[in-house]
């Protein structure tokens, strides 16, 4: 129903655009004085008038119609006032299920009456929706087309609408972020109501697999995040140890030394590296790199786990090379040619010019790239889920397995989960910590990148 309506609105807007453009083109306007706007703008303006109000109305209607109907149905249900919030939710979902035809037990007469009420309200709602949308389309089209006059500033009004639309688009990301933060904070607060924040922040033991049902055999539970955080930093540090030198050196080679042909081939290939799904890197890490690392570790006499921090971190580092190299590349390319020539003219070699002039000048850009890569490393999930371990250990041996914040979030939310249990809720607290870390890294990165724009 709503789908057809959207189609109808689009069609109506299209027709209005044609009519508007035709009216804008007609001789009557053009003959007397210079028209303010070209016909296309009149058409677009008419289309906006026709489509947008109806579209916004339809969206809002769809957003709110269910809750309004629910409220009305519950309101007329006998004895509903005495029910608690969750009982009301149960009741309404039962009514909806019966209405949808899935019946598990014989409905009570009250339920049957409520179902009938619900159905009549739904029918009413869709007719009302249809009528209002049709009216809005008709009125909008009428006003939009009538507004077309020789001096009517359709260009301005179209541009204003487009500006509004752009503003709305830019707000989407911000609103979503705010929503994510709020939901994370809400669940994390639930967690901290059950586990003291000090234990979570400073505890050195992480054994979150506690019983969710009474009959489960499980550990006592300990929620100290330090070992998990340690694992994240260990894996990230290994990843950066691979990515930073490789990325920067490849950027230097590509911008300063490589000839045009080599660059044309290698640069896109490097960027393909950024496009490989991380789960594919995960396969590579667990099937190819991890056994290699293990046999290497054993051959030099170090205690090695099948899933090592080194395997996960190393592969993650390879994944991050394109981030660092392409941002460093931009930073080098942004250093003006005049500055290079100034150095060459003083008799500096290429290497000296790169080390002493280009690198310092490009450093803020490179640091920005490194920090962005680091926040990717901290938040990376798939590779570590596949290639890192599950047990939280604080070890400096890279051949040992460690676990990371992201891995723990995944394991906590898989299997039995219940949202009044610290085991499940701990995932959100970890998520919040992760969010804060990456947010901080991104802020620093953005600030450094901005600073380097002022440099020369």
């Amino acid at each position: 129903m709503a789908g057809y309506l959207f189609g109808f609105m689009a069609l109506a807007a299209f027709v209005a655009a044609f009519l508007g453009a035709a009216r804008g083109r007609s001789k009557r306007f053009a003959a007397t004085e210079k028209t303010h706007s070209r016909p296309i703008y009149h058409g677009l303006n008419a289309a906006i008038w026709t489509g947008v109000p109806a579209f916004v109305f339809l969206l809002l209607w769809l957003l709110f119609q269910n809750s309004v109907i629910d409220m009305l149905v519950i309101g007329s249900y006998p004895g509903a006032d005495s029910l608690s919030g969750s009982e009301k939710n149960l009741l309404i979902s039962e009514i909806r299920q019966v209405a949808a035809g899935s019946v598990f037990r014989e409905p009570t007469p009250e339920i049957t009456a409520a179902v009938a009420h619900l159905k009549s309200l739904q029918a009413l709602s869709s007719w009302a929706m249809l009528a209002v949308v049709a009216a809005l389309v008709a009125v909008g089209a009428f006003l939009g087309i009538r507004a077309i006059q020789t001096r009517y500033p359709a260009r301005h009004s179209v541009e204003r609408s487009v500006t509004w639309f752009m503003m709305f688009s830019s707000l989407v990301a911000i609103l979503t972020t705010a929503g994510i933060v709020l939901s994370l904070v809400y669940e994390a607060l639930q967690f901290f109501a059950r586990v003291p924040a000090t234990e979570f922040l400073f505890g050195l033991r992480w054994e979150p697999q506690i019983a969710i049902r009474a009959d489960q055999v499980a550990g006592q539970g300990a929620f100290g995040m330090i070992p998990v955080l340690f694992g994240t930093f260990a894996v990230s540090a290994l990843a950066m140890a691979v990515a930073i030198p490789t990325g920067i050196l490849s950027a230097i080679y590509l911008t300063e030394y490589a000839n045009e042909r080599f660059r044309a081939v290698v640069k896109p290939l490097l960027e393909i590296l950024a496009g490989i799904p991380t789960i594919v890197y995960g396969f590579f890490a667990v099937l190819t790199v991890a056994p290699l690392v293990r046999s290497l570790g054993l051959s030099i006499g170090i205690d090695s786990a099948p899933n090592s921090a080194l395997a996960a971190g190393g592969v993650m580092g390879i994944m991050l090379i394109p981030f660092i190299s392409s941002l460093s590349d931009d930073a080098f390319a942004a250093v003006p040619r005049a500055i290079r020539e100034g150095s060459f003219a003083l008799g500096a070699t290429k290497g000296e010019t790169i080390r002493k002039v280009l690198l310092p000048a490009a450093l803020p850009g490179i640091v920005g790239g490194v920090l962005l890569a680091l926040s990717r490393a901290v938040g990376e999930t798939m590779i570590v889920v596949m290639a890192a371990g599950l047990i939280a250990k604080m070890t400096l041996n890279p051949f040992e397995s460690v676990t990371t914040v992201t891995v723990q979030i995944v394991t906590l939310l898989i299997g039995d989960s219940e949202f009044d249990n610290p085991k499940t809720l701990a995932a959100f607290a970890l998520g919040l910590v992760l969010f804060i870390i990456t947010l901080g890294l991104n802020l620093i990165a953005l600030r450094t990148v901005r600073k380097y724009r002022e440099k020369y």
Binding site: A338, E341, F344, A345, L346, G347, T349, E352, K356
Partner: protein
Amino acid sequence: MNIMTEAAVEQKVQAGLNEPAVKMKGESVDVHYGEKQALFGVNLDIRENQVTALIGPSGCGKSTFLRCLNRMNDTIDIARVSGKITLDGEDVYDPKIDVVELRARVGMVFQKPNPFPKSIYENVAYGPRIHGLTKNRAELDGIVESSLKKAALWNEVKDRLNESGTGLSGGQQQRLCIARAIAVSPEVILMDEPCSALDPIATAKVEELIDELRENYTIVIVTHSMQQAARVSQRTAMFHIGYLVEEGATEKMFTNPDDKRTQDYITGRFG
């Protein structure tokens, strides 16, 4: 530093007492940028301790010739130079010549001031550092100070040597670049329209400076300003669409040129 080859000595002797010795010499220099030829058989002598001005309308090849003198065209992939350019009789395009040493002897100042995004001190100390000209900090300090003094910038910056070189005014930046070039004690300084981005006051300062520098250095300057060429140079070379039209003492070039194109150009009839 000033080890003279036999050829150079010979030249000096030949030049006699009145004419200063030839420091650099271009012989039938051709330059191609890809398919396009930018210079056609240019023969030009650069005389020691004189200012030689290269003039001519835009695109005439004067900057191209200038950039051949210290092989800055090497940094442009598509540029090809043929013919012979000598410094004290040595061919600078000889494969045995180290371009890095050549550029230490033939310094350059660019059209747009291009200080490094480093402190004023570091800008000047850069050259001496990479060439290992000093043994300790005190010597380096000395070079920085004397270079800045020679560039007539010392009094303006002596209290803020650690501030960024890019924070100076345009004229100061250009004098900083001159100080930077002087700091490696070059024999020749090439200047590619050094005043085109400066206001008249800064221009006057730089011109005054060029005149003083002549005592110790050989200077080649590309300029679009006829007055500037007349004011600062002893010899002038006129270029037009890739050819050297004529060359001679500045006084003669500006009062009684042999070629009509030079006459037209300096009187503003074309270009």
